[in-house]
Amino acid sequence: MASEKVKTFTDGNFDTEIKSGVTMVDFWAEWCGPCRLLAPTVDAIATEYDGRVSVAKLNIDENPNVPGRFMIRGIPTLLIFKNGELADQIVGLAPKEEITKKLDQHL
């Protein structure tokens, strides 16, 4: 039951979606245990930062191009974009405070 605040990005809409403002993208897959553990944190951040950060998930099985472009070799990975530019990344399971601390630096 993902929060409705969390968008779904694809290879098709990715570039348009990250163009403006601060965006956080969660790269994940069904079979990834740690991704499931991170999901509630991503949901909570989407609600808490609603209107300030655009929060999205991108399924790496269904969308191989974007993960390839950013040389992602491990999930979960969170990428933070500011006006279309990669601004920060967090690899692996991270506590909520560590993620929000990084987000706050870009707001």
Binding site: W31, G33, L37, M71, R73, Q89, V91, G92, K96
Partner: protein, 332 residues
Amino acid sequence: MADRKVIIIGSGPAGLTAALYTARANLKPLLIEGLEAGGQLMLTTMVENWPGFRDGIMGPDLMAEMRVQAERFGTDVMQGNVARVDLNRRPFSFAFADGRSVTSDALVIATGASARWLEIGVDRKLSGHGVSTCATCDGYFFRGKPIAVVGGGDSAMEEAIYLTRFASKVTVIHRRDSLRASKIMQDKAFANAKIEFIWDSEIADIRDVTRGEVTGIVVRNLKTAKLTEVPLDGVFIAIGHTPNTALFRGQIELDEAGYILTHHGSKTSCPGVFAAGDVQDHVYRQAITAAGSGCMAAIDAERYLDGLPIPDETTDNAACLVAPPTSEILKP
């Protein structure tokens, strides 16, 4: 009065078994699951040595079952990581990074152990970009590519065998000239045509940090000191674990490696504090031994609570206090 009779920190087999037993003893335990909820089994595939499942069971499924079972008897599960503990005063108190706090009369520490990294620094820089400690998470990215696995124990062999599903070739790099892994895992690994071994060697460097991806490794032979470049796309590290005890450092006795010292079952140096699972065990480290020690900690905690206030030797908790002033430990 404490918020809880007993708090359990950690949600692997040790923590969930302690929760099951204390819940069934009507102690209404609070289990704080921690960041890596479910523990190391969440990162495994088929578990074939958990008794009762003749065909094996998937690690994550086993943990989901244990959790539901513990909850069925009244365990409350709380998400999050404890940021600070104070074991110097009764009741014990626990604070979270977001400002929440909770107190208890007894504590079971089952925080487990986390994967160790190499000590060359470069491995962490390339984490998520070709270096990984989790084959089941990241193996997928190496379809048709050559990779390395570092280590010689059961976990390393399990990872190497699992990774042959994806990789074109798996090179195991091990510091010795024989494996530490169990006979059955060694046989499986030696029989696998995709697995090769480089003995008596360690990784001296991983290329290429500037490109932000793994393009190869430099292997050092420990007997000859000879360096060899091996081009490959990924490195999986399986060289053991470090106990998660930073939270308790200075408040209970640890050994030189950071493991909690237990005596007379699951007792720690601090009366009312019990430890179970990999956080206090660098010898057996099995799911079943973790669960067994979780049961012991639950029974010990129950007996302790029945007898309150009689900590075994002391009444003033002096044994808990090996270190810093309380003001530094718990900031509200």
